[in-house]
């Protein structure tokens, strides 16, 4: 990144300037751009920091710029040697930032864009691109859905504004990366990218930046730029690390002695061993968390080769990331290849490409789902709910049956055989033609081809004697393949011109996109054997095979344009507009226009600020724009489809005739696109987000202290939602435009940079606050209940006047401790002394369903991150903290661990009320069918989830030059990293970072419920980075 070609070589026989550029440590600085001011004539420094440039005469001015350093302008004044010591810039004002369909200088930006830079990416050995974003930029909320290897991460930019799946649009090297269908948790999307290939990430947060992506930008746009070769000697980089993942936190469950104590308190007569001290002494004291969670390895190897000359450059890399989960049948293995190159074919023609091929394999164990039996059929949950008196295996090495009606967690783990395989090719080729000095015409052809495969084999097994009846008599196999092909062609014409202090940039482009998907799914419920080589369809009863398949597709074309103008880098204006036409909508509603406007005033450029030394840069920004969203609905929702399933009989004898119906509520088959849209809605169109952003950028003291603040409001118009219609329409629930959600909030970013010779200190921090108001749901509040805990009991609901997926239920107020208290309070049926006292919210004197209310929210009100980097000579220490505050988790695991006897318990239960323990804080533990303590969803199971985590601590050492030069290695860095070092929280589960449910087709509103979620490991990593 950041070098120029000599675009205009001829006719420059005037004057030659040469020199050496050094950095703040007097080390040569590579890749500094030197441009003759007002021209495109430029040069770039080589490995030794040297440059040579032919300029048109001895009186010109040279501009020196390099990312991370303050740009300098030097009048040549006849000097033929100009050496320069560049001053680092915290502010990176001269940095070129990738915006949609182009770049802009950071100083000239007028919209809200956050950047995650190369350095930040390199500091964090992470296998997941989405995790890289966590805590690194304000306004970006990143919540892991699960700690299982390869699982997806939930990324939200400036809050949810939609009731559907609201993922940001990822654009890699200018090409949108298609997230293939089949659920969010399959790794088909952005996680197939190798984070080490990433040069920088830009996050477009407000509509004035997003609008250039039109109907797909409203959930935010994440622009990813991958690394490219640089002119100079070939560089070989080898980066490898190895680590161990361990369980970060154990939950205090009852041990053997406590288990007995507790069971005696609750009069458990079922298990006679509890009442026989001698027999009890013979029983083991088993730690199920130790059984289920192993220390497990993680490794990563990456080799990249890059280089180039003035005309061509290349970067190729191969990497492998392998990890085994703490639950050892889960794991993830990904291999990436990448090739990026650019070629200056003629001085007016440049071509190049970026290509990636990825192969990944993800093994899963059962994770949280809905409904009691499937929740507990989860090894993580089983680790907590299994009694401490039973070992995982018996003497024969078979799975032991449990004393109580739980699953043997080791069995759940050992049997797991869900494999997600994914093969992706993603890339593009381009050509760029320069003409008439100021024009460029660029054509991109991009492709994203993905084959995802899910294979699920359930082996036959039996746990002899299990009270849970754990057995499956016949093995079953399910396998599906989803093929997705996304093609895009873009033509972009740009014009840049500077007249004196006026600088213009115009861009016009057209894009054409097509997306095709087909899938096939087979099932055989009668397989012959569990043997590994029998886990294919032919090894099953051929009569039991069922086969489904289908296809889906959409097309889109767009025209877009943008104009930016700045006067003296003081007054900045940007306006853009995009028109989309999408096949997802009917002919009357296909086209949408998305305008945006933004303006900035760099008041530090004004005359009156020239004497104010301590303010280095100051800018006020304002942006407004409209962006669309069409990702929350499927295709063909505007048509009324014919369904082929309405048969009838005629005749003597009766004979079946096949019939069809249209627009009725018929069940949708797996993945059958559009079929569940029921009646077509010809009027359907995208939802539109209108957003306003005010921003302030300040930096002080030569840029060593920086500050940025943004305030925004986002308002959703014509929100897409599945509504219900009156029965008299005879139709099922159609998709409509209706409803409104408003988000507003603010974001702060601060930075501090101090450099004293060999000592370097950097700190940057950010925080965001977002508030979401559900204003209007087209009167459909009842529809948006989610997080089913038990049948008919949803832990959260989205209602008008509330937030998205607010927790819902009864408030509690301690427990009843006396007969008087029972008599005084509002009437609560079934209540006895020792029971939970529910709050009579509506004050009608009786506890009923009407007393349920909003109890909390799974969405953090505050999100923050802090990164501190200290360097002394060759030693570097990097600490990264991250956290979320002011939100709750519905801890369903804890609820199950606080129930009646049977399952193992949280140690808290020893503090339960009983006649012998009347001062206890927690209610009596009794048969849950008689008391409402457990049955009713209440704030007892909501726990404050605010946390602060030291996410990574890295200590690295760069070998001194005099050592490395002897072995002809230019750079050696060795490092040790600990991830998830510590966690400060009051939360009583494994980890309060819980995003969305990870089921196959998750309900987008199903978030913040801990159903024994796979915990985040603590990882110890050691690695090195060699550059030849």
């Amino acid at each position: 990144m950041g070098f120029y070609f000599l675009l205009n070589q001829y006719g420059q026989d005037g004057f030659t300037v040469r020199g050496t550029i050094t950095d703040e440590f007097d080390q040569p600085l590579i890749g500094v751009n030197i441009v003759e001011k007002g021209t495109t004539n430029g040069a770039v420094t080589d490995l030794d920091g040297n440059y040579t440039i032919n300029v048109s005469g001895p009186d010109v001015t040279l501009e020196f710029s390099s990312i991370g350093y303050l740009s300098e302008q030097v009048a040549v004044d006849g000097q033929s040697v100009i050496n320069m010591n560049m001053v680092p810039s915290m502010e990176e004002l001269s940095e070129v930032v990738v915006v949609g369909y182009g770049t802009q200088k950071k100083a000239d930006l007028t919209s809200a864009i956050s950047t995650v830079s190369t350095e930040t990416i390199q500091e964090t050995p992470l296998s997941n691109t989405q995790s890289l974003l966590q805590g690194k930029a304000s306004g970006v909320k990143v919540m892991a859905n699960s700690g299982s290897p390869g699982s997806s991460v939930n990324v939200t930019i400036r809050g949810n504004l939609s009731l559907g799946e609201a993922q940001p649009l990822y654009v890699v090297d200018g090409i949108p990366m298609s997230s293939a269908g089949g659920g969010a948790d399959n790794g088909f999307g952005i996680n197939s990218l190798n984070p080490n290939d990433i040069e920088s990430i830009q996050i477009l947060k407000d509509a004035s930046a997003q609008a250039i992506y039109g109907s797909r930008g409203s959930n935010g746009v994440i622009l990813i730029t991958t690394k490219r070769g640089k002119a100079g000697e070939m560089k070989v980089n080898l980066n490898a690390y190895y680590g161990i993942q361990t369980l970060a936190r154990k939950i205090d469950v009852l041990d053997k002695a406590q288990y007995r104590e507790y069971n005696l308190i609750v009069d458990n007569d079922e298990d006679t061993d509890l009442h026989d001290p001698e027999a009890y002494a013979q029983l083991p004291d088993y730690d199920w968390q130790d059984e289920i969670f192993d220390n497990s390895p993680i490794s990563n190897v990456q080799l990249s080769i890059s280089g180039g000359d003035e005309n061509s450059n290349y970067m190729m890399s191969i990497s492998n990331n392998a990890q085994t989960g703490m639950v050892n049948t889960s794991g993830y293995n990904r291999t990436n290849f990448r090739l990026n190159s650019d070629h200056q074919v003629r001085n007016w023609l440049k071509v190049g490409e970026s290509f990636m091929v990825t192969y990944s394999n993800r093994d899963r164990v059962q994770e949280s789902g809905a409904g009691y039996s499937s929740i507990t059929a989860n090894p993580v949950m089983a680790a907590l709910l299994s009694d401490p008196l039973t070992e995982a295996y018996n003497d024969l090495g078979e799975w032991n049956y449990m004393r109580t009606a739980t699953f043997n967690g080791a069995g759940l783990r050992d049997r797991a055989n869900y494999r997600y395989q994914n093969k992706k090719m993603n890339g593009s080729v381009y050509s760029e033609i320069s003409f008439l000095n100021d024009f460029k015409f660029r054509t991109n052809l991009g492709v994203d081809y993905n084959t995802g495969e899910v294979r699920e084999f359930l082996p036959a097994f039996e746990v002899i004697g299990s009270p849970r009846n754990e057995a499956q008599l016949v093995p079953t196999l399910k396998q599906n393949t989803i093929n997705t092909t996304y093609l895009i062609m873009e033509n972009i014409l740009t014009y840049n011109r500077t007249f004196g202090k006026h600088s213009f940039s115009l861009m016009a482009a057209s894009t054409v996109e097509s997306w095709d998907q087909y899938f096939i799914e087979g099932k055989n419920n009668s397989m012959l054997s569990n043997a590994d080589n029998f886990r294919y369809f032919d090894a099953g009863d051929p009569d039991e095979i069922t086969l489904d398949g289908g296809a889906d597709y959409w097309r889109m074309y767009s025209y877009l344009g943008r104009a930016t103008y700045n006067f003296d880098e003081r007054y900045l204006l940007t306006a853009s507009v995009r028109q989309d036409a999408s096949s997802k909508f009917g002919p009357e509603n296909r086209k949408g226009v998305f305008p945006a406007f933004s303006a900035g005033w760099r008041f530090t450029q004004e005359e009156f600020m020239q004497d104010v030394d301590w303010i280095y840069n100051g800018k006020i920004r304002f942006g407004w724009g409209q962006v669309g969203n069409q990702s929350t609905i499927g295709t063909f929702r505007y048509t009324t489809p014919i369904a082929i399933n309405a048969n009838y009989l005629f005749g003597i004898p009766k004979t079946i005739y096949s019939g069809v119906t249209a627009g009725l509520n018929y069940p949708a088959g797996y993945g059958s696109p559009g079929s569940s849209g029921i009646p077509g809605n010809k009027g359907l169109t995208w939802e539109t987000t209108m957003s306003t952003n005010f921003g302030l950028d300040l930096s002080f003291f030569k840029g060593s202290v920086s500050f940025a603040a943004d305030w925004f409001q986002k308002e959703n118009i014509d929100m897409l939602l599945v509504t219900s219609v009156p029965l008299y329409t005879g139709s099922g629930a159609p998709t409509v435009n209706g409803g409104k959600i408003v988000n507003n909030g603010y974001e702060l970013e601060v930075g501090f940079h101090k450099s004293r010779g060999v000592f370097n200190f950097d700190i940057s921090a950010n925080m965001s606050h977002i508030k979401t108001d559900v204003v209007d749901l087209a009167g459909q509040s009842d529809l948006f209940n989610s997080n089913r805990i038990t049948a008919g009991n949803e832990a959260s609901r989205t209602i008008e006047g509330g937030g998205i997926a607010d927790f819902w239920g009864y408030k509690t107020d301690g427990i009843f401790r006396s007969l008087e208290e029972l008599k005084e309070g509002p009437y609560q049926s079934n209540a006895q002394i020792g029971d939970v006292r529910f709050v009579d919210v509506n004050g009608d004197g009786i506890i009923t369903g009407d007393d349920q209310t909003v109890l909390g929210s799974p969405i953090p009100n505050y999100t923050f991150g802090l990164s501190a980097n200290t360097q002394y000579k060759n030693i570097q220490l990097n600490l990264f903290f991250q956290g979320n505050a002011d939100y709750q988790i519905y801890n369903n695991t804890y609820r199950l661990m606080m129930g009646r006897y049977g399952l193992n318990k949280h140690v808290d239960i020893l503090n339960s009320w009983s006649w012998g323990n009347p001062d206890a804080e927690l209610p009596v533990v009794q048969d849950n069918s008689r008391h409402d303590n457990l049955v009713l969803l209440s704030d007892r199971w909501l726990q404050d989830a605010s946390y602060l985590r030291l996410q990574t601590a890295t200590l690295s050492y760069i070998l001194p030059d005099n050592l490395t030069s002897k072995i002809r290695i230019s750079n050696v860095k060795i490092y040790v990293t600990v991830q998830n070092v510590f966690l400060l929280t009051n939360y009583k589960g494994f980890d309060p970072e819980i995003g969305k449910s990870v089921s196959w087709k998750p309900d987008p509103l199903d978030m913040g419920v801990d159903n024994g979620n796979y915990p985040m490991p603590r990882t110890y990593i050691a690695g090195f980075n060699l550059t030849f």
């Binding site: 007016w348 033609i433 003409f435 033509n491 014409l493 057209s510 054409v512 289908g550 889906d552 959409w554 097309r555 889109m556 074309y557 036409a581 999408s582 096949s583 002919p587 296909r590 295709t635 063909f636 048509t639 009324t640 489809p641 014919i642 399933n645 309405a646 048969n647 009838y648 009989l649 005629f650 005749g651 003597i652 009766k654 079946i656 005739y657 096949s658 019939g659 069809v660 119906t661 249209a662 627009g663 009725l664 509520n665 018929y666 069940p667 559009g674 079929s675 009646p679 077509g680 010809k682 009027g683 219900s724 219609v725 009156p726 029965l727 008299y728 329409t729 005879g730 159609p734 009167g779």
Partner: protein
Amino acid sequence: MRYIKILTILSLTATMLLQSCDESFLELDQPIYPALETYYTDSATAFEGLVGCYNSFTNYNTGETTLRYIWDLDIRSDDTDYAGNPRGVVEEQNYYKASGFANFDILADNVHAYGVWEVCYNGVNTINKYLEGMNSTSFPVSQQPLVEQYKAEAKVIRSYFYFLLVKNFGPVVLYTNSLSQDEWYSQSRQEESLVYAQIFKDLREAKELLPLRSDYGDAMYGRITKAAAQTLLAKALITEAEIDGSSPNWQEAYDLCREVELSGEYNLNTLHEDMWKVAGQFSSEFILDIIVDEAFDSEKDSYIHGLSPRYYFDANGVPKHDRKLEFGFGISGITEDMANQYGYYQGYDSLQWVNLTDSRGKITFWTRWERYTDEQYIIVDELTSRPETTNPHATDDANYYLQKYSREKLATLYWSAGSNMHLIRYAETLLIAAEAAYYLGNEEEARRLVNMIRERAFRPAINDGRTTLAEVEINSSGKQLLEDIWQERRLELAGEGDRFYDLKRTHRLHILKEKKPEILFQEGKHELLPIPASELALAPNLTQNPGY
């Protein structure tokens, strides 16, 4: 020069690109699911859509059977009574509010009222969508008559649904096109006369386009015939006018029924006890049937499951010795009042059956003290030994069950009875004609028609000499004749879902409270069902029926 070349290339490229992006690029066909607007192109596809319309009689793909409610609704009458779960059980209150029909404890969220409303409009929407699709296509001229006939069939089915709606809810939402988004919530209820006008219009047009049953032949048994449209029209005519307070068009009703009689397509040759068996389900008596078959889809005729008694026969029809009842909710039981109309008195004398000369009694109900096997009813033991049940939905607190539609043996599939559902029988055509003839002043014709019914009902007893034709024939006149025709309707059509509407149209609903003073029946309220409460919440223009 170079720039000129480049510019030329550029402008060419740009032009090409812009042109390639015309609207056709976005015109896609949905995979697997063709679009309604373009699907019906010939008589073959049109027939598929027609089959889909018929399908709305049976299964709406929700696992629920569309028209089981027809029978449940008659629990309001004095013919049938609720015989399912004990009243007051929680599950019962939530799911099977048919119990409320028995004593008119009907709330605005009554599940069965909701169900009738829903399934009828599902049918209406299916047919509207079908007609919309058909009307957006121009068929080849040679296929036009067939296409018109298909549309006529669909309209008869729609009329059936609107008739059921208007009888139960009074003014209802009326539409004959598919609704667009801005119309979904804005509908209001239309006057009954407008709903009837639509029914009459559809049926009058349809009957001219529909074939006779013999034209269809055996292969198409079950299709909507001319006679089906005629009888349904006659029935709607006499129902609407009485509700409206005006005088029915007795002449048109009479003429319609008389045309059916004169067509020679139907007769009363089949004895009752044969007609209600699987073997007799294709009798020449049936004018409008819903064709169901257990072998085809067990759920399609699950109305039996809701309607009929629990069974205690095995797969061969042999009574189970442990007497455990299986299957069937038995929601619709026969009242003692109804049973007594045939001259049956509760007791243990097995000879009572023999003494019943009206063969319909034996087929209309059975008692819980008896078993049916080897073609005979056997009185079992004492009241105290009534069978126990393994069916959680059944408690067996009814004494008389509807015997029509009862299963002859334990079906292989869970819910099935294996027999067609009979919506309109020829006997009803004759009874409408008899009533019309009476009002037209032709008492002799009325007696002729009603005695055709009686002759068939008593034929077995006449044949074996227990009674004579003269003894059973009706000779009354004047008001008594009308009462006799009404009574004959009750005896003949018992348990077939019409009694409540008959009482309503003849302004005799007051007898319900006279017979059972404990019921909550209120005049001016319970003639109609409540509009489902959820509808009122969604559609602001809807109004609730009075009293709910």
